[in-house]
């Protein structure tokens, strides 16, 4: 940490700019940190570290550019630096093939009586567990796009990967999540009972 931060327009102007442009994103950065860290105290530390780093590096921020994305990048990098992540490169398939694979997942859900799985049951805990169990490269795109509403473009810029990589990782991640949730539903006996469906002589799983 350095205290001798280069001033843009004197400390007062710089601090005002920082308050107006950076601190307004505190709720969004908090939400992002909460998706990266399961423990709220860890998320608090991460948020604080993010804003301290942002304040130190404020002279490198270009006013008027996407400040939220800039803060997310700092937050993500700080998080991974803390964790000293394992190798995060994963093989990427064709995103369109991944999109087509979703058809097979849906078909499996339909066959298993789980076509309305996501609208009929509260899967909150299972979703959290399934997201946590994803390989990191897949988890981070889900956190960015599906949990934090980032566009493919923003996620690509933030992760410093091509947009095609975001798409293929995202679609693969969604398939992995759906498969995990379908397995969870089967194991938890959430499958629609064949007896109720009017098929005599068959016991529900």
């Amino acid at each position: 940490m350095h205290n001798d931060v280069p001033a843009r327009e004197g400390t007062g102007g710089r601090d005002h700019e920082f308050r107006v442009e950076a601190l307004r994103w505190l709720p969004e950065v908090t939400r992002f940190a909460l998706s990266l860290e399961r423990d709220e105290a860890d998320a608090d530390d991460l948020v604080q570290e993010t804003f301290l780093k942002a304040y130190e590096a404020w002279h490198t921020y270009t006013p008027g550019t996407e400040c939220r994305g800039w803060l997310f990048t700092i937050c993500r990098n700080a998080c991974y630096k803390r964790r000293k992540r394992e190798e995060r490169h994963v093989r990427c398939d064709d995103p369109e093939l991944e999109a087509l694979a979703a058809v097979a997942v849906h078909a499996a859900a339909q066959q298993g009586g789980l076509a309305d799985l996501f609208s009929r049951f509260d899967l909150s805990d299972a979703i959290d567990a399934a997201i946590a169990a994803l390989p990191e490269a897949f988890r981070e795109v889900v956190i960015l796009v599906d949990v934090n509403d980032q566009s493919y473009d923003s996620a690509a810029a933030l992760l410093d990967v091509p947009i095609g990589t975001v798409r293929s990782r995202l679609f693969r991640a969604r398939r992995l999540l759906q498969e995990a949730l379908i397995t969870h539903a089967r194991d938890a006996g959430l499958v629609r009972s064949p007896r109720k469906a009017g098929i005599p002589g068959q016991e529900p799983r």
Binding site: M1, N3, V5, T11, G12, D15, F18, R19, L23, L26, P27, T30, R31, L34, S35, E40, A43, D44, V47, Q48, F51, L52, Y55, E56, E96, A99, L100, A102, V103, H106, A109, Q110, A115, D116, L117, F118, S119, L123, S124, I127, D128, I131, V142, V145, D146, V147, N148, D149, S151, Y152, R167, L170, F171, R174, L177, Q178, L181
Partner: protein, 107 residues
Amino acid sequence: MKRFVPRWLARVFSMKDGMWDDAMAAPMLDCESVMRQLWDYVDAELTPERMKDIRMHVEMCKRCYPQYEFERAFLDAVSARRRTHSDPERLRASVLAALQSKGLSEA
């Protein structure tokens, strides 16, 4: 999703209950093209023209509409996992205190 369609027209285009029974008969796009871009469509990442083409197909196709519903419900369930902080004001105060210790002037 039901839309009124004259019975004769439904027969001509293999429709049942106001939806395209034969996906190939649905307008503009075939089902495979739609499935290839369904995630992009659900995420609103396509051009306005492409969004419109796919929406027209999905709304009328008996094969694609359930798939769309399934994916939409899945994404709704995932995005609902967005967590909120238990005490945002305390966090804001502690962030501000840390920044002020690094030189941020008081507002």
